[in-house]
């Protein structure tokens, strides 16, 4: 008797997870470098309903009659589609065009990765330092914090497409400073562990980071200064997914109500 009740309950729980994912996407629609996630479902195992079954003209069927036990949320996949480039007045705003990630040193000393290039030039212990808005140092191609020696004017620092820092002299001619922003790629970016503040952490599924500066035969990303990468959430998609999830949730709740009514009727059998 309870089979339909529980199947419908699994349906409601799965759709609840879908709504959770969708609302997180929508709430991050203006988050720089945010990547949308998508929920997928899989059916649960099947049970035998009746061993011997016959078709309408009386032939025995090769399989028994089966009933499934519901659904589960199988994966929440991050979609690393490129977000749109939004112009930013800050000279220390960067966007990545391609598959790369910026690397950032966390408070615990580990390296984390991000697509959010909204950096600051702040005054550190050794001079001007490129940091995230939280104050964590951004790393260069050798995994060292990016520090600019000497007395410099922050607005004269420019970055080329391959991440090379240049300093403009009095005449406006760029001279290389010998520092490049470190960009890493991953075999399977969807396997990266998501953390707060738009950071990602290496996991066994993502594979080790591939340094774009040293790796050969990979497609290198381009750095764009003065731009930020917007979130890649598509509001229309999310709204359609929300309708589907909400209505599926509703249909499952109707199945629970109906099962409940049926159980009530069975209980009324004995007067």
């Amino acid at each position: 008797m309870v089979r339909s009740l529980w199947s419908a309950a699994t349906g409601m729980m799965a759709q609840q997870t879908a709504v959770d994912t969708i609302s997180n996407n929508i709430s991050n629609i203006n988050t720089t470098g945010f990547k949308t996630s998508q929920n997928e479902f899989k059916s649960l195992l099947y049970q035998e309903l009746q061993a011997e079954t016959t078709s309408a003209n009386g032939e025995t069927k090769p399989i028994d009659s089966q009933v499934g036990l519901g659904v589960r949320s199988s994966s929440i996949t991050t979609i690393f589609r490129q977000g749109s480039m939004l112009e930013s007045p800050s000279a220390s705003a960067f966007a990545i065009e391609g598959n790369g990630f910026f690397s950032v040193k966390g408070n615990d000393g580990n390296t984390y990765y991000t697509r959010n290039g909204n950096f600051n030039i702040s005054i550190g212990r050794n001079g001007l330092e490129l940091t995230t808005t939280e104050g964590n140092p951004v790393l260069d191609t050798r995994g060292q914090p990016i520090v600019f020696q000497g007395t410099l004017t922050a607005s004269n620092i420019t970055v080329t497409g391959d991440g090379e820092f240049c300093y403009l002299d009095d005449k406006g001619n760029p001279a290389s400073m010998g520092i490049r922003i470190g960009i890493s790629q991953f075999n399977n970016p969807a396997g990266l562990e998501k953390l707060d503040s738009s950071l990602y952490k290496v996991s066994a599924a993502s594979g080790n980071p591939i340094n774009e500066a040293t790796a050969t035969n990979i497609q290198k990303s381009t750095i764009v200064q003065g731009y930020l990468e917007g979130s890649n959430v598509q509001l229309a998609d999310e709204m359609v997914n929300l309708i589907v999830a909400q209505r599926a949730y509703e249909a499952n709740s109707k199945a629970i109500t109906t099962s409940d009514t049926m159980m009530g009727q069975a209980n009324q059998l004995k007067q």
């Binding site: 759709q15 309408a56 994966s75 599926a248 499952n252 009324q268 059998l269």
Partner: protein
């Protein structure tokens, strides 16, 4: 006891079974590659009904009074393999099938035993070593030599392009061709769960001929909520009708047991 009491009882059990099947459809109404299932109702084999001998009949023969039908059961479970709608995901590792066919997957169970399963769910991903796997980590199979299957290994640092024949290209070079399997008779396919189908003995496998692979799409479930809701109404009302029948029999029996023979 009254025959109809048990007939109505089989009716209630059968409606509950139909309810179980349709609830599973509703629960999976957003599952990728899910195919709507149903259960038909079939009457029990008809039986001859004889009049029990009493004084009014000839002593040697029981008078035949017709045929009776002692109830209903599940006839067969069926699956509607019709095409589901496509949903654009723009994910390079999402695939949808159009036409008759299934992705071939090497499934590994908890004990580490492998078996071949089939699915319409093309929500795949690539491992760090470059293998194309399902979201649960089961290997997706490619066509090997002599009708064999092999795992699909790609260079994970390069984008893959898949054409409608399922040929996986990297750098304009063909890496592998997805093995899309079809079956002569879908009646030989059993549901495993996890969106997988398993062929039973007697199934005839073949390479799918009129099945196209679309990259960046997923096939949505072909469950129609409207028809499931209509069926739910019919199930609950038939359940109720059978319940009323049992109650009626119960009250008749009550009269027979308690009121007859009273002076």
């Amino acid at each position: 006891m009254l025959k109809g009491l048990y007939t109505a009882y089989t009716g209630m059990v059968n409606e509950q079974n139909r309810m179980d099947v349709l609830t599973n459809n509703l629960a999976n109404s957003a599952t990728v590659g899910y195919k709507k299932e149903g259960a038909t109702s079939q009457s029990f084999d008809t039986v001859l009904v004889d009049k029990i001998k009493d004084g009014s009949e000839d002593v040697r023969t029981a008078r035949r009074i017709g045929q009776g039908n002692p109830g209903v059961k599940v006839g067969e479970g069926y699956t509607d393999y019709s095409q589901g709608a496509f949903r654009v995901t723009d994910n390079n590792y999402d695939f949808a099938l159009s036409g008759d066919g299934f992705f071939t997957v090497e499934f590994t169970n908890k004990n580490g035993e492998t078996s071949t399963m089939y699915t319409r769910d093309g929500n795949f991903t690539v491992t760090a070593d470059g293998y194309l796997v399902t979201t649960d980590g089961d290997y997706v199979m490619a066509r090997g030599a002599n009708n064999s299957s092999e795992r699909i290994k790609v260079n994970p640092n390069e984008a893959i392009v898949v054409d409608q024949q399922g040929r996986i290209m990297q750098n304009n070079q063909m890496v592998a061709q997805m093995k899309i399997t079809n079956f002569n008779d879908y009646n030989y396919l059993e549901h495993y769960g996890e969106n997988y189908y398993v062929p039973v003995e007697g199934a005839e496998l073949e390479l799918a001929t009129d099945c196209k692979v679309f990259q960046g799409y997923l096939e949505t479930s072909n469950v129609s909520i409207v028809s499931e809701m209509v069926e739910m109404i019919s199930v609950s009302k038939q359940y109720e009708a059978n319940q009323k029948l049992i109650q009626t029999y119960d009250s008749s029996l009550q009269i027979a047991a308690n009121q007859l023979g009273k002076i």
